[in-house]
Symmetry: C2
């Protein structure tokens, strides 16, 4: 019977009640976070300008498990548990000897995994008496998720949307607005950071780093009325996503399988961490034999070509400084369509795991991503978001290698979102208008040369 | 425990193995279908130009249950069973005493219920040795579903897309193309029907009736190479959708509830029939006390304002003639955004059920639809397709009445698809640019005056 199943469900009563915090099990503690002005370790008071206390506690906590509030679990029930699928048709299409499973986070109302952290972030902000939250969005997945979460908790929501996305993705803007959020094209004239950029370049199409600067500034100057919310990179964000991997583990148990390879795409690192951390815990604590594989765009190769150093999280240098794998905060990645992966750095947790050789990293060029995504959609029916297409590309590489080597690994990957709002990118791909980008060596070297000096 | 559940799952092993054919239980047989040229009852040979034999058999079958082929069930497993949700947050938002459940068909890869019939139609065509199928699409849900289904069975797929949608919905066109289908804006110069329309009006933006004429002509003139596939209206199409209601019944049993009111939106009638027919069977056969409610746009009030008469299925009079509730094949509905409900007629099964007073029908104006859809999306997180918004609007009417009357009915409705490709319509609604349309009395009267005469 199990043999012919495609989807492995969990009852809602099995939704995990705790997030897993990998900080508890890292071989060494994470490097401290620095204040961008003083370059000294940030205090709780420094962070309190941007985040409510419970979020700050979670950010630095080394507790292994943190209780998911009942109010958050109730909203998770709108779409969780998400399905775990056996990609039988993809296996057949590429003729692999591997078994391929994917956890599908695209069934969430926002269409991606981002809602897993947007809900608790909105909840903790509401609990702290905040009026609203500010944020940035590039591809739009995060803006959609946070606007939904704020709507659920009656919080105001201000989204600075990278201008090129604001113009090119009117559907994304519309869905964010339909949940009641206020969307501003960034750079804007609403903040000093935005006005400074516009003064230099009135035609600036924006970047994630600039939009973060604007959102941080708005919160910081609001006198406590607004706080700031980030959709990836930070420890608490990655921890909230651990619900993905916890569910996947239960579902794979039901399928009677255990992964040899776990794959996720990496921008800031949240969907990757989400699927991977429960397996990494077993690897660190119990010596489990599992390869954990991060995939990034060749045009923004943060792990594979970056350095592990302190850097700013944003362009204007207003966000806290974090030790992370980075290409330099001044690096503007080429305009690949996986907007969610176009960030100069990667979360501290991911960087530390990579530095400790607990995870592997590979980069994939854009055309291979779309080719793989089309193979997937024609086999499985689901259109992957371009970000998720990176994971698909790596999975296909692994599956083809397995066939060549005559092995039969079990591969698990995170299909973190659907591509319904990315059809213009697919359209361009089919018309032959997409390109790969040469490794942007000069731009990265220039950005790395400007890394801030710190005394820590 | 059950009390706090939001989603009611079924294991894949519980996917129904048979479609339910309500023709077996109708109080009287359906009126015969006529050849559009001779106006005599169509023969199997007449229909054989357009459809493979198994489809024709199903179209006229009075067998109560028809086996779902194993190959179809295997693909159903990519997304079925679909979830049944208790809309707890919507209930709270509108303060109703009713219990509201919805069956969510938007989780299908194509984003709507249409894939339920696209898969078997593609399968039977493939089995019959056909090279490809032709079809039309308006809103795009059907074109998406059929292109996916053809891709799964290696069939060519030719979609005539109503020109106004082709232009206004580039994402829809792109997703249809991404599954390998050939998409043509209709009216086109590829068919006589299309060329005749363009000769009269080179700027014609098309209509569903015109696109059907083009698709039917292409199949009819292909010498058997291509057949034609329709996404609604016909008996076999409605029967394939019975899987929705069968699953819902099993899931509601698990929830410990039984519906007093079952609601679906109606264009050709397939999603409505899908959710309703298992309950109608109980109503007809066992005298079950359940209200079954069809909802249509006020701008295209086929059931509430049309007549029950023989009419053409398409503009050029090439498709078979069916006795149905109709506004006249020459009626072009106002451009409401629920493109899937803009059809002059409604399926024979639905018409007969309405004539026998086994179902009720109501019409809802466009602004109420969007207002209700926004209430729903803010409560439940899911953006309804404008078509599904009609069901939501009626459910909210019923739920508010229940509160006023102090009753606590259990309401079940079919949320037949998501609105990810309809965000421009929501955008226009939020900008105050959508309007209601006056009941198009003169146009309907003119179209009804042109109803064909038949001798039957």
């Amino acid at each position: 019977m199990t043999e012919s199943l495609t989807r492995f469900e969990l009852p809602q009563s099995a939704i995990p009640t705790r997030w897993y915090n990998i900080q508890a099990d890292l071989p060494r503690p994470l490097p401290v976070v620095l204040h961008p002005g003083t370059k000294s370790p940030v205090t709780s008071d420094d962070l309190g300008v941007l985040f409510p206390q419970e979020i700050i506690n979670q950010e630095v906590s080394r507790e292994r498990f943190i209780e998911i509030p009942e109010e958050v679990r109730e909203i998770y029930k709108l779409w969780r548990p998400t399905p775990l699928m056996r990609a039988r048709r993809l296996e057949k299409a590429i003729g692999t000897t591997a078994k391929i499973y994917y956890k599908y986070e695209g069934v969430s109302p926002s269409g991606s995994h981002k809602l897993n952290t947007a809900i608790p972030q909105a909840f903790y902000n509401k609990q702290a008496g905040v009026v609203g939250v500010t944020t940035e969005t590039g591809a739009g997945q995060w803006g959609t998720a946070l606007s939904q979460a704020c709507n659920f908790f009656n919080l105001e929501c201000y989204v600075f949307m990278v201008k090129v996305s604001f113009v090119q993705k009117p559907y994304r803007r519309a869905i964010i607005q339909s949940f009641g959020a206020n969307v501003t094209a960034s750079p804007s004239d609403k903040t000093e950071a935005g006005r400074a950029i516009l003064a230099q370049d009135p035609d600036s199409t924006g970047s994630l780093g600039i939009a973060i600067s604007e959102a941080v500034e708005m919160a910081a100057k609001s006198g406590g009325k607004y706080k700031y919310a980030l959709g990836s990179v930070l420890n608490h964000v990655l921890m909230h996503q651990s619900i993905i991997g916890q569910e996947a583990m239960l579902q794979l148990d039901r399928a009677g399988d255990s992964p040899d390879i776990v794959v996720g795409c990496v921008g800031g690192g949240s969907n990757f961490a989400g699927i991977a951390v429960p397996y990494l815990r077993d690897k660190i604590v119990h010596g489990r034999n599992v390869r954990v594989v991060a995939v990034e765009p060749a045009a923004c190769p943060t792990l594979t070509r970056g350095v592990y150093a302190y850097d700013y999280g944003d362009t204007a240098g207003m966000a806290p400084m974090v030790k992370m794998h980075t290409l330099g905060a001044k690096f503007i990645p080429p305009p690949v369509h996986a907007g969610g992966l176009r960030y100069h750095g990667v979360g501290s947790v991911i960087s530390e795991l990579y530095d400790q050789k607990l995870i592997e990293a590979y980069s994939v060029p854009q055309l291979e991503v779309f080719k793989s995504a089309v193979t997937f959609l024609r086999a499985e029916g689901i259109v992957p978001a371009p970000e998720a297409g990176h994971a698909v590309a790596q999975v296909i590489r692994e599956a083809i290698r397995a066939k060549e080597e005559g092995t039969s690994p079990v591969i698990l990957f995170n299909l973190c979102g659907h591509g319904h709002f990315d059809m213009t990118a697919y359209d361009a791909y089919f018309r032959g208008e997409l390109t790969d980008y040469a490794y942007p060596q000069a731009a990265i070297e220039a950005a790395l040369a400007e890394l801030p000096e710190v005394n820590i």
